[in-house]
């Protein structure tokens, strides 16, 4: 029996062939992070560390509740706190759980040069397969959300797996299980979208006119979505991109130039070969050698004469 999980791949990095796809009937899943009911308790962070066995060194206080300060190889999810003063001058403490968005069209996967180091399962989860990772950091460049982090120790890239191991056996991700206020929910993408719609109606009734769902179309939608009070300005939530999409640079680099470049190299080699076949080598002819010798001889003679002249003149 094959590695069953690998039969769930619908995308596989650096692969020109279609992955096994007979098992790809699964529902698309999604994690819904309702920022409006999040209290920033970091239970999700603790649960992530527990389940995935991640431990950072104990850090320092740096003027923020964001601890650790940033995502890193051992921090796959992070609460980011923003003290935001709205138009009315009222303070809002915006707390966003940052982590991999599990894009439908993952920029990391597109950028990855190592076959099978990044995969997307039929349920939509984007996962890093560490043993295939070469540590090049292209995923970091490919990601529109600045999520993957390369370990300086083992040179592998790490990020949230959406607990693909738990989801595969019918459990919810660890962060979802730990969330005390139900701010993180998990289910089919459709259910989550429907529930978000209800939440948005409720939020609008409380005066959040711009409440909305963050499921950015630029990356084909995401399998981690946010309910935001201010969906019109996602950037106030610690820099959530307004309209994320895979960078045009990356698209170009991983799109057009890959085939064109190989074709160009091949073409130059073929051109050489054809030239060889048509024109043949450029070889030194006997006449060349003879003419050369003649020139050499005459030059030698000239030099000798010059030498006598010079000697005579000085004498």
């Amino acid at each position: 029996m094959a590695d069953l999980q690998s039969q769930d791949y619908i995308r596989r990095s650096a692969t020109t062939l279609t992955p096994p796809s007979v098992r790809s009937y699964e529902d698309q899943v999604a994690k819904l992070i309702d920022v409006t009911r999040c209290i920033g308790c970091k239970a999700c962070q603790a649960a992530c560390m527990e389940w995935n066995n991640l431990r950072n060194p104990v850090g320092t206080f740096e003027g923020t509740y964001d601890n650790p300060l940033d995502l890193d190889p051992a921090t796959w999810t992070l609460m980011r706190f923003t003290e935001y003063e709205n138009d009315k001058g009222d303070l809002e403490w915006l707390i966003r759980k940052d982590g991999c968005m599990h894009c439908e069209d993952p920029g990391c996967l597109k950028a990855c040069p190592a076959p099978g180091a990044i995969v997307q399962y039929a349920n939509g989860i984007v996962d890093f397969i560490s043993e295939n990772c070469i540590g090049c950091g292209y995923c970091v460049k490919g990601c529109p959300f600045d999520i993957p982090r390369i370990s300086a120790v083992d040179h592998k890239s790490y990020k949230c797996t959406l607990c693909s191991d738990r989801v595969a056996v019918g459990l919810e991700p660890a962060c979802v299980k730990a969330c005390p206020t139900g701010a993180i929910l998990f289910g089919s993408k459709k259910d989550m979208t429907d529930w978000a719609d209800e939440r948005i109606v409720e939020l609008k009734s409380r005066g959040f006119e711009n409440a909305g769902l963050y499921d950015p179309p630029g990356v084909g939608g995401t399998h981690v979505m946010y309910v935001l009070h201010h969906a019109d300005t996602p950037s106030i939530y610690a820099g959530l991109p307004e309209n994320p999409r895979i960078s045009a640079t990356v698209e170009f680099w991983k799109g057009l130039i890959k085939p064109v470049a190989l074709a160009g190299i091949a073409a130059s080699a073929i051109a050489g070969f054809l030239h060889w076949v048509v024109m043949g080598p450029n070889e030194v002819q006997v006449e060349d050698e003879l003419e050369a010798q003649e020139v050499l001889a005459s030059e030698r003679k000239k030099r000798r004469a010059d030498a006598i002249d010079t000697d005579g003149g000085s004498a």
């Binding site: 209290i39 308790c41 104990v58 509740y65 403490w93 707390i95 005390p180 206020t181 701010a183 939440r199």
Partner: protein, 821 residues
């Protein structure tokens, strides 16, 4: 809970966590539920989403709770009474009270004695010499039969309602804003939101915690809101109540079993020196009803007491020796609290200390004084699963614990104990549920259970008394100890002791045997005062019956989906989930809120989703009040002599305050607070220490425990304080730079979090800055070393409970180069 009992009769959270979801308005004041109780806070979110509830937060800081609130207003630490008295004034002035409820279920109409008065910050009867009250005038005018007189029209000038109106008249919106610094419009907006819940079918729940208790007027803070809730008719109803969110998973259990120096289990009180005989003792504990026909359940005190004595002394407690009354210790002062204990250590009056499951070096006020006190002990025994600061107080950890080890002679015995996950047993949560838990893992190393350690100490001490006699061996040598394993009694056996059992066959009125000798009791109703029953904690009676361990029940079914699952664990008293639930129905017995009934009268009995907190067959027409523990049968807007500061709450400034009390400058602070001379000398003045500081928890940590856990240490690694941007600018303090924060008692050097979440307040025309001091760091554990917030805090407690004033004191702040290494 020295304020809820004087108001309602029992000192406990009235409703349940789940019930919060039924609220229409959730007010979080004197607490930070999202931060300190994140798991329970799910019910607030539930209330918002499923019940359309609004969430209001009143706090000096914009907290994590405020981050999900519908409305937030700032307040200066230590001024909650002014705020809430202002709310009461608003409610009375706008007539936004639930009239029928207030008339029938509170003492609003009861007439107070002549002689009661309030002037210039003092109630009648103040003795300036003793700094204490003669409380005799704080009582009702009684009729010939000894019942309180009543005027239900509230016209009488000395009826409670009239007196209350007069008392709160000073708390105008201007005055509230002047004292609290809360902008008037915000205060008014909150008054309006609160007033809306006076409607019979609307409920507000008050969630509070140590933000109210840790003040020199802590009990009165809570009482003021309890009064607001009575006026609104929000006690006893679904989604209402006074919900004391306990700061510790078993702190409710601590007071329930009487682990305070003046208490016995089940809120019975220890005798005092004056009560020489058992008769003297019982004379002040008769609890005769103050209104005709009232339950006054404490009138059963003698049954509870005798059953307790039988439980601990067995056959040795007999009618002939007054149930061994003489063997009980008698208090010479009201309370031996922790502040007193450390004062005694410092004075050389206490030389040995068994510190079981506490960490005073971190947790008690004025850290320097704590260290000095511990240093003067002959011996210190610590029993704790963790390597606490207390057990290492003698070790020099640098500036964070500058102990002079050579000079300390204290012998320290550090006994590692099991933690809750390493033993079977029960915890009592905020909602009074006794929940059984099962051992999940073996304890590490040589850790032993507290029971094993205490049993060992008991056996050795008893042996010494048996061998050597001693001055008074009886209380020790006569203790019963009938356990299968005497060196480590099983928790199930101890639980059965708490529940109680029949010591002889018990018969009912008809003579039929209802319990055979030795059988476990069904509940405290079966307790007798003739020595035929025993119960170690009467309120727990019913938790472990012949039907088995009720605390271990795990049936989550909730018949009305109203947050009451009667077969999940067991709640005291008698498995009631919502206290005073009779008040959820009107006088006729119909629910105030028909959509969320708790109990109602079906013509012959009380029925509903909860166990009635009331006689099951007591007819509505009998006029029995819903507050069955109170001798009046009703909730007390006027607390009689039960609060030491007075029957109505009054605003007093914290002992360290930037301003003088504008209401009565001569009586600026709580007049009955107990302050030791050396502690008073360590109070700072606003000229030296101009800023108000307040201490608090962060959600990443639980007190001083979780800094020992790596994950928690990672999530909040290092000590810091929080200051507003305005003060930071004024002082030249940059984000995350080092600062020195000092009170008169000590200093801490840590990093500053310059935040928008703390704004300057205008107090009496002047700008006041608040500095926040999170309290989690010490010098043991996995997180970075810290000085601990109690380095700064003053050694003074609430006048009723001596809970230390951690929430309002004075400090100064300046930039620093960081700690000396």
């Amino acid at each position: 809970m020295a304020s809820l009992a004087p108001t309602f009769g029992r000192g406990a959270m009235t409703n349940t966590w789940q019930d919060i979801k039924n609220a229409n308005l959730v007010i979080v004041m004197g607490g930070n539920a999202a931060e300190a109780h994140p798991c329970g806070f799910k019910w607030v979110i539930e209330a918002k989403i499923e019940n359309g509830a609004k969430l209001v937060v009143v706090d000096p800081r914009f907290t994590r709770t405020a981050s999900v609130a519908d409305y937030y207003a700032p307040i200066r630490p230590g001024t909650d009474i002014a705020f809430l008295n202002g709310v009461i004034r608003y409610l009375l002035e706008k007539d936004k009270i639930q009239h029928e409820y207030v008339r029938a279920y509170t003492n609003a109409g009861l007439i107070v004695k002549e002689g009661y008065g309030f002037e210039d910050g003092l109630f009648s009867g103040y003795d300036h010499e003793r700094g204490d009250y003669d409380k005799s005038s704080w009582d009702y005018e009684l009729d010939d039969q000894g019942f309180a007189k009543v005027d239900d029209t509230w016209q009488h000038p000395r009826c409670v309602m009239s007196l209350l109106k007069a008392h709160v008249a000073r708390y105008t919106q201007e005055m509230v804003s002047r004292i609290c610094g809360t902008p008037r419009d915000k205060f008014l907006h909150i008054c309006e939101m609160v007033a809306a819940t006076a409607a019979p079918d609307k409920a507000m729940t008050s969630l509070f915690a140590l933000g109210w208790t840790q003040h020199s007027v802590g009990s009165q803070n809570i009482r003021t809101m309890a009064m607001v809730q009575l006026l609104l008719g929000n006690i006893g109803v679904a989604g209402g109540g006074m919900n004391a969110l306990r700061g510790h998973s078993n702190i409710q259990g601590l007071t329930d079993v009487g682990l305070l120096s003046n208490l016995m289990p089940g809120y019975m009180t220890l005798p005092v020196d004056d009560e020489v005989t058992f008769d003297d003792y019982m004379k002040s504990r008769l609890y005769k009803p103050l209104r005709p026909g009232q339950t006054s359940y404490w009138s059963n005190y003698r049954k509870f007491f005798v059953s307790f004595q039988k439980s601990i002394y067995g056959d040795a407690a007999k009618a002939e020796n007054n149930w061994a009354y003489d063997w009980l210790p008698k208090l010479d002062i009201p309370l031996y609290d922790v502040i007193k204990a450390f004062e005694m250590m410092n004075q050389g009056e206490m030389t040995g200390y068994i510190c079981q499951g506490f960490n005073p070096q971190q947790a008690f006020p004025d850290r320097g004084k704590i260290r000095r006190g511990l240093s003067k002990l002959k011996f210190l025994i610590t029993m704790d699963p963790l390597d606490t600061e207390t057990s290492r107080f003698w070790e020099n950890f640098g500036p964070q614990n500058p102990a002079d080890s050579m000079a300390i002679q204290t012998e320290v015995f550090q006994l590692p104990t099991t933690c809750f996950a390493e033993e079977d047993g029960s915890l009592v949560n905020s909602a009074r549920w006794l929940q059984w838990h099962w051992k999940a893992a073996d304890p590490p190393g040589q850790a032993k259970s507290d029971i094993w350690i205490m049993s060992g100490i008991f056996h050795r001490i008893r042996e010494l008394y048996r061998k050597e006699g001693g001055a008074f061996p009886d209380p020790i040598v006569n203790l019963t100890w009938n356990y299968t394993n005497p060196t480590e009694p099983a928790t199930a056996e101890l639980a059965k002791d708490m529940n109680g059992r029949a010591r002889a066959d018990l018969t009912d009125a008809s003579g039929a045997v209802v319990k055979k000798a030795g059988q476990l009791l069904d509940g405290f109703a079966q307790l007798r005062d003739d020595g035929t029953t025993e119960s170690g904690c009467w309120i727990f009676s019913g938790c472990y019956t012949e039907k088995g361990n009720q605390m271990a029940r795990r049936d989550a079914s909730d018949p009305r989906e109203q947050g009451i699952a009667p077969n999940w664990a067991w709640a005291w008293p008698a498995n009631r989930r919502i206290l005073y639930n009779r008040a959820s129905a009107d006088v006729q017995g119909n629910p105030w809120n028909p959509r969320k009934p708790i109990i109602q009268w079906d013509g012959s009995k009380w029925v509903g989703v909860d166990v009635p907190d009331y006689g099951v067959t007591v007819k509505p027409s009998d006029g029995v009040g819903p507050f069955i523990m109170n001798a009046e049968g009703v909730g007390r807007l006027f607390a009689r002599e039960l609060m030491v500061e007075g029957p109505f709450p009054e605003h007093y400034e914290p002992l360290e305050s930037p301003v003088v009390n504008v209401l009565h400058p001569k009586v600026s602070t709580n007049p009955v607070v107990r302050v030791f001379a050396d502690d008073r000398a360590a109070f700072g003045s606003p000229s030296e220490f101009p800023y108000v500081a307040t201490t608090y928890r962060l959600t990443e940590h639980f007190h001083f425990w979780t800094k020992h856990a790596l994950i928690n240490a990672i999530l909040q690694p290092e000590e810091f304080i929080e200051i507003g941007e305005a003060l930071a600018k004024e002082k030249g303090i940059a984000q995350a730079s080092w600062v020195r924060v000092a009170s008169k008692r000590g200093q801490m050097i840590c990093k500053a979090y310059v935040t928008k979440r703390i704004k300057p307040l205008t107090i009496d025309g002047k700008t006041a800055h608040v500095i926040g001091v999170p309290l989690h760091w010490g010098f043991t554990g996995q997180a970075r070393k810290g000085y601990g917030a109690n380095t700064l805090t003053p050694s003074v407690g609430d006048a009723n409970t001596q809970t230390p004033e951690f929430k309002a004191f004075l400090v100064n702040i300046e930039p620093s180069n960081g700690p000396e290494v």
